[in-house]
Protein backbone atom coordinates (compact mmCIF):
# COMPACT_ATOMS: atom_id res chain seq x y z
CA UNK A 1 0.00 0.00 0.00
CA UNK A 2 1.14 3.55 -0.62
CA UNK A 3 3.46 5.27 1.80
CA UNK A 4 1.19 8.31 2.23
CA UNK A 5 -1.67 6.12 3.45
CA UNK A 6 0.60 4.38 5.96
CA UNK A 7 1.93 7.69 7.21
CA UNK A 8 -1.52 9.25 7.67
CA UNK A 9 -2.82 6.11 9.35
CA UNK A 10 0.13 6.09 11.76
CA UNK A 11 -0.43 9.76 12.63
CA UNK A 12 -4.11 9.01 13.30
CA UNK A 13 -3.15 6.05 15.49
CA UNK A 14 -0.79 8.22 17.52
CA UNK A 15 -3.40 11.00 17.72
CA UNK A 16 -6.23 8.77 18.96
CA UNK A 17 -3.86 7.06 21.41
CA UNK A 18 -2.76 10.46 22.74
CA UNK A 19 -6.36 11.59 23.26
CA UNK A 20 -7.34 8.26 24.84
CA UNK A 21 -4.44 8.56 27.28
CA UNK A 22 -4.62 12.22 28.19
CA UNK A 23 -8.23 13.46 27.83
CA UNK A 24 -9.79 14.35 31.21
CA UNK A 25 -13.14 12.54 30.85
CA UNK A 26 -12.85 8.76 31.31
CA UNK A 27 -15.73 7.89 28.96
CA UNK A 28 -14.20 10.00 26.16
CA UNK A 29 -10.88 8.26 26.82
CA UNK A 30 -12.48 4.82 26.40
CA UNK A 31 -14.31 5.95 23.25
CA UNK A 32 -11.04 7.12 21.74
CA UNK A 33 -9.37 3.89 22.82
CA UNK A 34 -11.96 1.93 20.82
CA UNK A 35 -11.33 4.20 17.80
CA UNK A 36 -7.61 3.61 18.35
CA UNK A 37 -8.16 -0.16 18.35
CA UNK A 38 -10.06 -0.02 15.07
CA UNK A 39 -7.32 2.09 13.45
CA UNK A 40 -4.81 -0.48 14.71
CA UNK A 41 -6.89 -3.08 12.88
CA UNK A 42 -6.53 -1.00 9.70
CA UNK A 43 -2.78 -0.88 10.28
CA UNK A 44 -2.68 -4.68 10.47
CA UNK A 45 -4.71 -4.87 7.25
CA UNK A 46 -2.23 -2.53 5.59
CA UNK A 47 0.63 -4.76 6.77
CA UNK A 48 -1.15 -7.72 5.17
CA UNK A 49 -1.95 -9.45 8.47
CA UNK A 50 -5.70 -10.03 8.11
CA UNK A 51 -5.80 -12.63 10.91
CA UNK A 52 -4.34 -10.12 13.34
CA UNK A 53 -6.62 -7.34 12.08
CA UNK A 54 -9.66 -9.49 12.90
CA UNK A 55 -8.33 -10.30 16.37
CA UNK A 56 -7.31 -6.71 17.08
CA UNK A 57 -10.69 -5.20 16.13
CA UNK A 58 -12.76 -7.92 17.83
CA UNK A 59 -10.69 -8.43 20.98
CA UNK A 60 -8.38 -5.42 21.26
CA UNK A 61 -10.99 -2.78 20.46
CA UNK A 62 -14.31 -4.57 21.09
CA UNK A 63 -13.94 -6.75 24.18
CA UNK A 64 -11.39 -4.48 25.89
CA UNK A 65 -13.63 -1.47 25.19
CA UNK A 66 -16.68 -3.17 26.73
CA UNK A 67 -14.58 -4.24 29.73
CA UNK A 68 -13.42 -0.67 30.35
CA UNK A 69 -16.92 0.82 29.88
CA UNK A 70 -18.45 -1.70 32.29
CA UNK A 71 -15.67 -1.12 34.84
CA UNK A 72 -16.23 2.65 34.62
CA UNK A 73 -20.00 2.25 35.07
CA UNK A 74 -19.48 0.01 38.11
CA UNK A 75 -16.97 2.45 39.61
CA UNK A 76 -19.40 5.34 39.11
CA UNK A 77 -22.14 3.31 40.81
CA UNK A 78 -19.78 2.75 43.75
CA UNK A 79 -19.19 6.51 44.08
CA UNK A 80 -15.73 6.60 42.47
CA UNK A 81 -15.82 9.57 40.04
CA UNK A 82 -12.96 8.06 37.95
CA UNK A 83 -11.01 11.32 38.04
CA UNK A 84 -7.29 11.22 37.64
CA UNK A 85 -5.67 13.20 40.45
CA UNK A 86 -3.03 15.88 39.89
CA UNK A 87 0.51 14.79 39.21
CA UNK A 88 3.41 16.59 40.91
CA UNK A 89 5.49 18.64 38.43
CA UNK A 90 8.71 16.74 39.13
CA UNK A 91 7.01 13.44 38.33
CA UNK A 92 5.64 14.39 34.95
CA UNK A 93 8.83 16.24 33.99
CA UNK A 94 10.92 13.20 34.94
CA UNK A 95 8.54 10.80 33.25
CA UNK A 96 8.50 12.97 30.14
CA UNK A 97 12.31 13.03 29.93
CA UNK A 98 12.60 9.30 30.59
CA UNK A 99 9.88 8.33 28.11
CA UNK A 100 11.18 10.66 25.38
CA UNK A 101 14.65 9.16 25.59
CA UNK A 102 13.17 5.68 25.76
CA UNK A 103 11.14 6.41 22.64
CA UNK A 104 14.17 7.72 20.73
CA UNK A 105 16.29 4.75 21.79
CA UNK A 106 13.61 2.25 20.87
CA UNK A 107 12.91 3.92 17.50
CA UNK A 108 16.64 3.93 16.68
CA UNK A 109 16.89 0.24 17.57
CA UNK A 110 13.83 -0.60 15.49
CA UNK A 111 15.25 1.32 12.50
CA UNK A 112 18.54 -0.57 12.76
CA UNK A 113 16.68 -3.86 12.15
CA UNK A 114 15.64 -4.57 8.55
CA UNK A 115 12.04 -5.80 8.34
CA UNK A 116 12.18 -9.41 7.16
CA UNK A 117 9.72 -12.20 6.61
CA UNK A 118 12.31 -14.98 6.69
CA UNK A 119 10.17 -17.50 8.55
CA UNK A 120 7.47 -17.21 5.89
CA UNK A 121 9.82 -19.07 3.53
CA UNK A 122 10.41 -21.71 6.22
CA UNK A 123 6.73 -22.20 7.01
CA UNK A 124 5.39 -22.19 3.43
CA UNK A 125 6.87 -25.54 2.30
CA UNK A 126 5.66 -27.22 5.51
CA UNK A 127 2.00 -26.30 5.01
CA UNK A 128 1.02 -29.09 2.53
CA UNK A 129 1.88 -31.64 5.24
CA UNK A 130 -0.86 -30.13 7.44
CA UNK A 131 -3.52 -29.97 4.74
CA UNK A 132 -4.45 -26.38 5.58
CA UNK A 133 -3.45 -23.17 3.87
CA UNK A 134 -3.66 -20.40 6.48
CA UNK A 135 -0.04 -20.11 7.63
CA UNK A 136 -0.96 -18.27 10.82
CA UNK A 137 -3.31 -21.09 11.82
CA UNK A 138 -0.49 -23.48 10.96
CA UNK A 139 1.87 -21.66 13.30
CA UNK A 140 -0.76 -21.33 16.04
CA UNK A 141 -1.94 -24.94 16.01
CA UNK A 142 0.95 -26.97 14.66
CA UNK A 143 4.40 -25.38 14.64
CA UNK A 144 3.93 -23.43 17.87
CA UNK A 145 0.97 -25.35 19.28
CA UNK A 146 2.60 -25.33 22.70
CA UNK A 147 2.11 -21.53 22.96
CA UNK A 148 -1.54 -21.79 21.99
CA UNK A 149 -2.16 -24.64 24.43
CA UNK A 150 -0.70 -22.60 27.28
CA UNK A 151 -2.61 -19.54 26.11
CA UNK A 152 -5.92 -21.39 26.33
CA UNK A 153 -5.05 -22.23 29.92
CA UNK A 154 -4.06 -18.61 30.60
CA UNK A 155 -7.55 -17.53 29.53
CA UNK A 156 -9.09 -20.14 31.83
CA UNK A 157 -6.73 -19.03 34.63
CA UNK A 158 -7.81 -15.41 34.16
CA UNK A 159 -11.45 -16.41 34.64
CA UNK A 160 -10.55 -18.35 37.80
CA UNK A 161 -8.66 -15.26 39.02
CA UNK A 162 -11.63 -12.97 38.25
CA UNK A 163 -14.02 -15.36 40.02
CA UNK A 164 -11.71 -15.54 43.01
CA UNK A 165 -12.38 -11.82 43.54
CA UNK A 166 -16.02 -12.58 44.37
CA UNK A 167 -16.95 -11.92 48.02
CA UNK A 168 -17.30 -15.17 49.97
CA UNK A 169 -21.05 -14.72 50.45
CA UNK A 170 -21.58 -14.19 46.70
CA UNK A 171 -20.05 -17.53 45.75
CA UNK A 172 -21.22 -19.41 43.69
CA UNK A 173 -23.71 -16.87 42.42
CA UNK A 174 -24.31 -15.13 39.13
CA UNK A 175 -22.33 -12.16 37.75
CA UNK A 176 -24.01 -8.76 37.91
CA UNK A 177 -26.60 -8.46 35.14
CA UNK A 178 -25.20 -6.08 32.50
CA UNK A 179 -28.74 -4.78 31.88
CA UNK A 180 -29.43 -1.44 30.27
CA UNK A 181 -30.96 1.01 32.74
CA UNK A 182 -33.18 2.67 30.12
CA UNK A 183 -36.31 0.56 29.50
CA UNK A 184 -36.59 1.19 25.77
CA UNK A 185 -32.88 0.64 25.19
CA UNK A 186 -33.22 -2.60 27.09
CA UNK A 187 -35.97 -3.75 24.74
CA UNK A 188 -33.95 -2.82 21.67
CA UNK A 189 -30.93 -4.73 22.99
CA UNK A 190 -33.16 -7.68 23.85
CA UNK A 191 -34.74 -7.82 20.40
CA UNK A 192 -31.44 -7.46 18.55
CA UNK A 193 -29.79 -9.91 20.95
CA UNK A 194 -32.40 -12.54 20.12
CA UNK A 195 -31.79 -12.06 16.38
CA UNK A 196 -28.03 -11.61 16.54
CA UNK A 197 -27.14 -14.53 18.79
CA UNK A 198 -27.98 -17.20 16.15
CA UNK A 199 -26.31 -15.04 13.47
CA UNK A 200 -23.21 -14.74 15.64
CA UNK A 201 -23.20 -18.50 16.16
CA UNK A 202 -23.35 -19.21 12.41
CA UNK A 203 -20.76 -16.55 11.63
CA UNK A 204 -18.41 -17.88 14.33
CA UNK A 205 -18.77 -21.45 13.10
CA UNK A 206 -17.92 -20.21 9.61
CA UNK A 207 -14.91 -18.24 10.86
CA UNK A 208 -13.44 -21.37 12.48
CA UNK A 209 -14.00 -23.42 9.33
CA UNK A 210 -12.59 -20.67 7.08
CA UNK A 211 -9.65 -20.28 9.46
CA UNK A 212 -8.01 -23.39 8.00
CA UNK A 213 -7.42 -21.81 4.62
CA UNK A 214 -8.51 -18.15 4.83
CA UNK A 215 -8.11 -15.54 7.56
CA UNK A 216 -10.09 -16.51 10.64
CA UNK A 217 -9.67 -18.96 13.47
CA UNK A 218 -10.72 -20.02 16.93
CA UNK A 219 -9.88 -16.79 18.74
CA UNK A 220 -11.64 -14.48 16.30
CA UNK A 221 -14.66 -16.80 16.21
CA UNK A 222 -14.70 -17.10 20.00
CA UNK A 223 -14.93 -13.32 20.25
CA UNK A 224 -17.86 -13.23 17.85
CA UNK A 225 -19.65 -15.81 20.00
CA UNK A 226 -18.81 -13.85 23.16
CA UNK A 227 -20.15 -10.67 21.55
CA UNK A 228 -23.43 -12.38 20.66
CA UNK A 229 -23.78 -13.80 24.18
CA UNK A 230 -23.05 -10.42 25.80
CA UNK A 231 -25.53 -8.54 23.63
CA UNK A 232 -28.21 -11.14 24.38
CA UNK A 233 -27.43 -10.87 28.10
CA UNK A 234 -27.56 -7.06 28.01
CA UNK A 235 -31.07 -7.18 26.56
CA UNK A 236 -32.18 -9.90 28.98
CA UNK A 237 -32.67 -12.43 26.15
CA UNK A 238 -30.50 -14.89 28.09
CA UNK A 239 -29.61 -14.93 31.77
CA UNK A 240 -26.06 -15.25 33.05
CA UNK A 241 -25.34 -18.68 34.54
CA UNK A 242 -24.37 -19.49 38.11
CA UNK A 243 -20.64 -20.15 38.33
CA UNK A 244 -21.06 -23.69 39.69
CA UNK A 245 -23.28 -24.98 36.89
CA UNK A 246 -21.77 -28.29 35.67
CA UNK A 247 -22.64 -27.60 32.02
CA UNK A 248 -20.93 -24.21 32.20
CA UNK A 249 -17.83 -25.69 33.82
CA UNK A 250 -17.73 -28.35 31.08
CA UNK A 251 -17.98 -25.70 28.32
CA UNK A 252 -15.14 -23.73 29.92
CA UNK A 253 -12.63 -26.58 30.12
CA UNK A 254 -13.69 -28.50 26.98
CA UNK A 255 -11.37 -26.70 24.55
CA UNK A 256 -8.17 -26.72 26.62
CA UNK A 257 -8.77 -30.36 27.70
CA UNK A 258 -9.41 -31.62 24.15
CA UNK A 259 -6.30 -29.74 23.01
CA UNK A 260 -4.27 -31.30 25.83
CA UNK A 261 -5.66 -34.78 25.13
CA UNK A 262 -4.84 -34.58 21.41
CA UNK A 263 -1.42 -33.22 22.32
CA UNK A 264 -0.79 -36.15 24.68
CA UNK A 265 -2.12 -38.54 22.04
CA UNK A 266 0.61 -37.17 19.77
CA UNK A 267 3.19 -38.92 21.92
CA UNK A 268 2.16 -42.14 20.13
CA UNK A 269 2.96 -40.41 16.82
CA UNK A 270 6.38 -39.24 17.91
CA UNK A 271 6.06 -36.55 20.54
CA UNK A 272 3.88 -34.17 22.53
CA UNK A 273 1.63 -32.11 20.20
CA UNK A 274 2.74 -33.96 17.07
CA UNK A 275 -0.14 -34.83 14.75
CA UNK A 276 -0.13 -38.24 13.00
CA UNK A 277 0.38 -38.00 9.23
CA UNK A 278 -2.86 -37.47 7.30
CA UNK A 279 -4.87 -36.68 10.42
CA UNK A 280 -3.43 -33.20 10.96
CA UNK A 281 -6.30 -31.22 9.47
CA UNK A 282 -9.01 -33.26 11.18
CA UNK A 283 -7.32 -32.86 14.55
CA UNK A 284 -6.66 -29.14 14.05
CA UNK A 285 -10.30 -28.51 13.12
CA UNK A 286 -11.47 -30.54 16.14
CA UNK A 287 -9.23 -28.52 18.45
CA UNK A 288 -10.34 -25.26 16.88
CA UNK A 289 -14.07 -25.97 17.25
CA UNK A 290 -13.84 -27.02 20.89
CA UNK A 291 -11.41 -24.19 21.63
CA UNK A 292 -13.71 -21.65 19.98
CA UNK A 293 -16.63 -22.69 22.20
CA UNK A 294 -14.53 -22.45 25.37
CA UNK A 295 -12.97 -19.13 24.33
CA UNK A 296 -16.38 -17.64 23.55
CA UNK A 297 -17.90 -18.63 26.90
CA UNK A 298 -14.75 -17.65 28.83
CA UNK A 299 -14.53 -14.23 27.19
CA UNK A 300 -18.23 -13.53 27.82
CA UNK A 301 -17.82 -14.44 31.51
CA UNK A 302 -14.61 -12.41 31.78
CA UNK A 303 -16.57 -9.39 30.57
CA UNK A 304 -19.44 -10.15 32.96
CA UNK A 305 -17.07 -10.14 35.94
CA UNK A 306 -17.11 -12.01 39.26
CA UNK A 307 -20.34 -13.25 40.90
CA UNK A 308 -22.02 -10.59 43.05
CA UNK A 309 -23.89 -10.95 46.33
CA UNK A 310 -26.93 -8.91 45.21
CA UNK A 311 -28.08 -11.64 42.86
CA UNK A 312 -30.68 -13.92 44.40
CA UNK A 313 -28.90 -16.97 45.82
CA UNK A 314 -31.21 -20.00 45.87
CA UNK A 315 -31.72 -21.65 49.27
CA UNK A 316 -30.22 -24.94 48.10
CA UNK A 317 -26.94 -23.08 47.57
CA UNK A 318 -24.27 -23.64 50.24
CA UNK A 319 -23.96 -27.03 51.86
CA UNK A 320 -20.20 -26.87 52.29
Amino acid sequence: MSGAFDLILCLMILGTAGIALFVRDALAAIAFFIAFGNLMGLAWLSLGAVNVALAEIAIGAGVTGILLILARARLLALGDPVHSGDTPTWLWLGAFAACTSFSVLLAATVLSITPESGLDRVVAPLMPGLGIENRVTGVLLAFRAYDTLLESFVLLGALVAVWSLAPARAWPGRPAEPRMADGQMHQVAGASGRVLLPVALVMAAYLVWAGSDLPGGAFQAGTVLAGGLMLAAMGGAIGLPRSDRPLLRAALVLGPLVFLAIGLGGIAAGGFLIYPKGLAKALIVTIEYTLFLSIGVTLALLVAGPPVADSPVPDAGGNG
Binding site: D6, C10, I13, L14, A17, L21, A26, A29, I30, F33, W44, S46, L47, A49, N51, V52, A55, E56, I59, G60, T64, L67, L68, A71, R74, L75, H83, S84, T87, L91, A95, C99, S103, L106, A107, V110, L111, S112, I113, T114, P115, E116, S117, G118, L119, V123, V139, L140, R144, D147, E151, G157, A158, V162, L165, P167, G217, F219, L302, G305
Partner: protein, 110 residues
Protein backbone atom coordinates in the same frame (compact mmCIF):
# COMPACT_ATOMS: atom_id res chain seq x y z
CA UNK B 1 27.02 1.35 10.78
CA UNK B 2 24.11 3.53 9.82
CA UNK B 3 21.03 3.72 11.98
CA UNK B 4 18.75 5.16 9.31
CA UNK B 5 17.73 3.04 6.38
CA UNK B 6 19.54 4.16 3.22
CA UNK B 7 16.54 3.57 0.92
CA UNK B 8 13.10 5.20 1.40
CA UNK B 9 11.63 4.01 4.69
CA UNK B 10 9.67 0.78 4.21
CA UNK B 11 6.08 0.28 5.40
CA UNK B 12 7.37 -2.13 8.03
CA UNK B 13 9.59 0.56 9.50
CA UNK B 14 6.82 3.18 9.56
CA UNK B 15 4.63 0.89 11.67
CA UNK B 16 7.47 -0.33 13.86
CA UNK B 17 8.50 3.25 14.70
CA UNK B 18 4.84 4.12 15.38
CA UNK B 19 4.82 1.15 17.75
CA UNK B 20 7.93 2.45 19.49
CA UNK B 21 6.34 5.89 20.03
CA UNK B 22 3.08 4.27 21.22
CA UNK B 23 4.98 2.23 23.77
CA UNK B 24 6.67 5.33 25.18
CA UNK B 25 3.38 7.30 25.15
CA UNK B 26 1.70 4.48 27.06
CA UNK B 27 4.49 4.31 29.63
CA UNK B 28 4.32 8.08 30.14
CA UNK B 29 0.56 7.97 30.68
CA UNK B 30 0.95 5.00 33.01
CA UNK B 31 3.26 7.07 35.22
CA UNK B 32 1.43 10.40 35.24
CA UNK B 33 -2.17 9.11 35.30
CA UNK B 34 -3.29 8.63 38.91
CA UNK B 35 -6.41 6.54 38.36
CA UNK B 36 -6.05 2.76 38.05
CA UNK B 37 -8.61 2.47 35.22
CA UNK B 38 -6.67 4.98 33.12
CA UNK B 39 -3.45 3.12 33.91
CA UNK B 40 -5.08 -0.11 32.71
CA UNK B 41 -5.91 1.68 29.44
CA UNK B 42 -2.29 2.86 29.23
CA UNK B 43 -1.02 -0.73 29.65
CA UNK B 44 -3.18 -1.71 26.69
CA UNK B 45 -1.64 1.06 24.57
CA UNK B 46 1.86 -0.14 25.56
CA UNK B 47 0.83 -3.64 24.49
CA UNK B 48 -0.51 -2.39 21.15
CA UNK B 49 2.82 -0.59 20.58
CA UNK B 50 4.83 -3.74 21.24
CA UNK B 51 2.58 -5.72 18.87
CA UNK B 52 3.07 -3.11 16.16
CA UNK B 53 6.88 -3.30 16.55
CA UNK B 54 6.68 -7.09 16.20
CA UNK B 55 4.40 -6.95 13.18
CA UNK B 56 6.23 -4.08 11.47
CA UNK B 57 9.60 -5.80 11.73
CA UNK B 58 8.06 -8.98 10.32
CA UNK B 59 6.82 -7.18 7.23
CA UNK B 60 9.19 -8.18 4.46
CA UNK B 61 9.15 -6.74 0.94
CA UNK B 62 6.79 -9.43 -0.40
CA UNK B 63 5.04 -11.05 2.57
CA UNK B 64 4.44 -10.74 6.30
CA UNK B 65 6.00 -13.32 8.58
CA UNK B 66 3.34 -15.69 10.02
CA UNK B 67 5.37 -16.21 13.19
CA UNK B 68 5.00 -12.69 14.68
CA UNK B 69 1.37 -12.71 13.52
CA UNK B 70 0.65 -15.80 15.60
CA UNK B 71 2.61 -14.30 18.49
CA UNK B 72 0.60 -11.06 18.31
CA UNK B 73 -2.74 -12.93 18.26
CA UNK B 74 -1.59 -14.81 21.36
CA UNK B 75 -0.52 -11.50 22.87
CA UNK B 76 -3.86 -9.81 22.17
CA UNK B 77 -5.73 -12.62 23.94
CA UNK B 78 -3.39 -12.54 26.94
CA UNK B 79 -3.78 -8.73 27.06
CA UNK B 80 -7.57 -9.00 27.21
CA UNK B 81 -7.29 -11.61 29.99
CA UNK B 82 -5.06 -9.20 31.92
CA UNK B 83 -7.46 -6.31 31.30
CA UNK B 84 -10.42 -8.36 32.53
CA UNK B 85 -8.60 -9.32 35.72
CA UNK B 86 -7.33 -5.76 36.22
CA UNK B 87 -10.80 -4.26 35.74
CA UNK B 88 -12.34 -6.76 38.15
CA UNK B 89 -9.65 -5.98 40.71
CA UNK B 90 -10.14 -2.20 40.37
CA UNK B 91 -13.89 -2.54 40.90
CA UNK B 92 -13.31 -4.85 43.88
CA UNK B 93 -10.89 -2.33 45.40
CA UNK B 94 -13.53 0.37 45.12
CA UNK B 95 -15.96 -1.94 46.92
CA UNK B 96 -13.44 -2.85 49.60
CA UNK B 97 -13.96 0.10 52.01
CA UNK B 98 -17.58 -0.97 52.55
CA UNK B 99 -17.30 -4.70 52.72
CA UNK B 100 -15.72 -4.90 56.22
CA UNK B 101 -18.82 -3.18 57.69
CA UNK B 102 -21.13 -5.36 55.67
CA UNK B 103 -19.23 -8.44 56.70
CA UNK B 104 -19.51 -7.49 60.38
CA UNK B 105 -23.14 -6.52 60.05
CA UNK B 106 -23.91 -9.73 58.19
CA UNK B 107 -22.27 -12.17 60.57
CA UNK B 108 -24.58 -11.80 63.61
CA UNK B 109 -27.57 -12.37 61.33
CA UNK B 110 -26.26 -15.57 59.87
Amino acid sequence: MELLAPEPVSAGHIYAVTGAILTALGFYAFIVRRHALRQLLAVNVVGAGVFLILGGLGRGPDAIDPMPQALVITGIVVAVALTAFGAAMIVRLAEAPRSPDQGKAGKPDA
